[in-house]
């Protein structure tokens, strides 16, 4: 049957579909316990960070903490470490220091990514140790290019099962990454590349501000955050500030509260990365991380002192 044409519209007796609520990938987003429904209103719930992570990030989940060196949700990542989540599939275009910490702390089983490094500094030693030596646990890799990952989020946000791009051609990536396939244009016959949609169980991002209805506003370099949030079944946004009204800002991305599961007020939640207009990058920390993370003991000591023994707003 050609599903684009009108097809055979014959009568059948089962009308279940008429009564069914739409149950696509986002059905859960609207019904994650008490978090999305309050007095019948669709809006993000304002929660303490610890509660948000406890309810929204679960063992075994596929989790994206996105950001392009700006607005990296470090505080939320630390809370995930404190709550000892395990077997996570971590997803991100540019896994950096917070992913190094999550990997070193044993939270991750798998990493889906396109570039893993300490931005502006060098390599990620915990990531390397996990890949090269399976410490503290083995880390499976699913490796893409930026163009592929960006388009996978776009497909996920768009409710499509795949995206099409000119990408990967001639590289060794498709030898090792199963879900890179070819697709032919139905008009020109040209062969292009297809990648499957990314639909994280939960996406966590940091933003500058939210209002009390959970509408979120971010600006500066906003990377792929909008797509990562919209692609996810659940979402948690940490913000520098909760305000009465979101006054417009040039370059802003606004995500309506009804498209977000929960918002947590975490000033400084992006440190040591920065929040444009609120803080600057703590570059010394990124440089220091290279030393801290080289050695398993100094790493564990750092996590113990700065994450495990710190509060939820550390």
């Amino acid at each position: 049957m050609n599903p684009v044409g009108r097809g055979a519209l014959t009568n059948v007796t089962n009308a279940d579909y008429v009564r069914d609520k739409y149950a696509g990938p986002h059905a859960e987003q609207r019904s994650v316990g008490a978090m999305t429904q309050e007095a019948g209103r669709l809006m993000a719930k304002l929660v303490p960070l610890a509660d948000g992570v406890a309810e929204l990030v679960r063992d075994g989940d596929t989790v994206a903490l996105e950001g392009f060196t700006h607005l990296i949700p470090f505080a939320a990542g630390h809370e995930i470490i404190r709550q000892e989540r395990r077997d996570l599939t971590l997803v991100r275009m540019t896994p950096d220091v917070i992913y190094d910490q999550l990997i070193g702390a044993g939270c991750a089983r798998r990493l889906v990514f396109s570039w893993g490094g300490n931005p502006g500094v060098g390599s990620l030693h915990r990531f390397r140790d996990a890949v090269q030596n399976s410490w503290p646990v083995p880390l499976e890799l699913e490796e893409h290019s930026h163009a592929g990952m960006a388009n996978r989020y776009v497909a996920g946000a768009s409710g499509l099962p795949f995206a099409v791009l000119r990408g990967y051609t001639g590289t060794d990536l498709p030898r090792h990454t199963g879900n890179i396939r070819s697709i032919d244009c139905p008009f020109t016959g040209e062969t292009l590349t297809a990648v499957p949609a990314l639909n994280p169980d939960v996406t966590v991002v940091h933003a500058q501000r939210a209002d009390r209805a959970g509408n979120v506003q971010m600006w500066g370099i906003t990377g792929v955050q909008k797509e990562a949030v919209l692609a996810a079944r659940r979402s948690l946004v940490t913000v520098e500030e909760i305000v009465d009204e979101l006054t417009p800002v040039p370059g802003q991305v606004v995500l309506p509260g009804w498209a977000i599961t929960a918002v947590a007020h975490v000033p400084g939640g992006a440190h040591p990365s920065y929040a444009h207009g609120y803080s600057v990058r703590d570059n010394a920390f990124y440089v220091a991380w290279d030393e801290i993370s080289r050695d398993r003991d100094t790493f564990q000591d750092w996590i113990e002192r700065h994450v495990q023994n710190a509060g939820a707003t550390a």
């Binding site: 009568n11 579909y17 019948g40 946000a157 409710g159």
Partner: protein, 254 residues
Amino acid sequence: MSQYTADEMMTVAAARQLRDGTACFVGIGLPSTAANLARATHAPDLVLIYESGCLGAKPDRLPLSIGDGVLADTADAVIPVPEVFNYWLQPGRIDVGFLGAAQLDRYGNINTTVIGGDYTDPKVRLPGAGGAPEIAASCGEVVVIVRQSRRTFTERVDFVTSVGYGAGPGDRARLGLRGGGPRTVITDLGVLEADPDSCELTLTRLHPGVTVERVREATGWPLAVADDLSTNEPPTAEELTVLRALEATMRAAA
């Protein structure tokens, strides 16, 4: 109770259909008037989405067009048109789609393309599809607002611009349409709802003073009527006051 017109009753009945806190894809004209009436009365947190890219528009007057500046000025976010369809409509994020119709059949299939003759040589060329095919496919449910007459409520639409229940039960699932389809049709005579078993549009409510016979006369197929047919409450004084004030804003802006 004030005097009111059939169009006012229709608009009020459509507005009442919208639950607070839901997200509603709004077309210009009757749907926009009804959605803004709902927001100004019982549904202050109704999220209005206009296909021009305005998410959460809160206009203080009725917009003159789908791309009126008042929509951008009051929206939570103004986004590119491709994102409206790809990021918001297509994944099923929008609860209610509000559509009009030039022709409608008993399964809620809608024509806004051509009437009479042939596609390439029509009797009347209408504006066409716009966003309707995908609104009808992907919204949680669809509400149709349309004045009822035999010319409009036809046994078979001349062109399927937007699919309702196709030829009946199971067709939406078979076509892979993920939204719920046209649950409710609001007219100037009453309210029709899709029967959950047969998918057929069934008269469930009459506007005050309208008879079943009159609705049958305005319907081009043998009309199904609900056993528990009821009569709508007439517009309240508040509903009429707000509606007329809204319409006055449009005349003022024009």
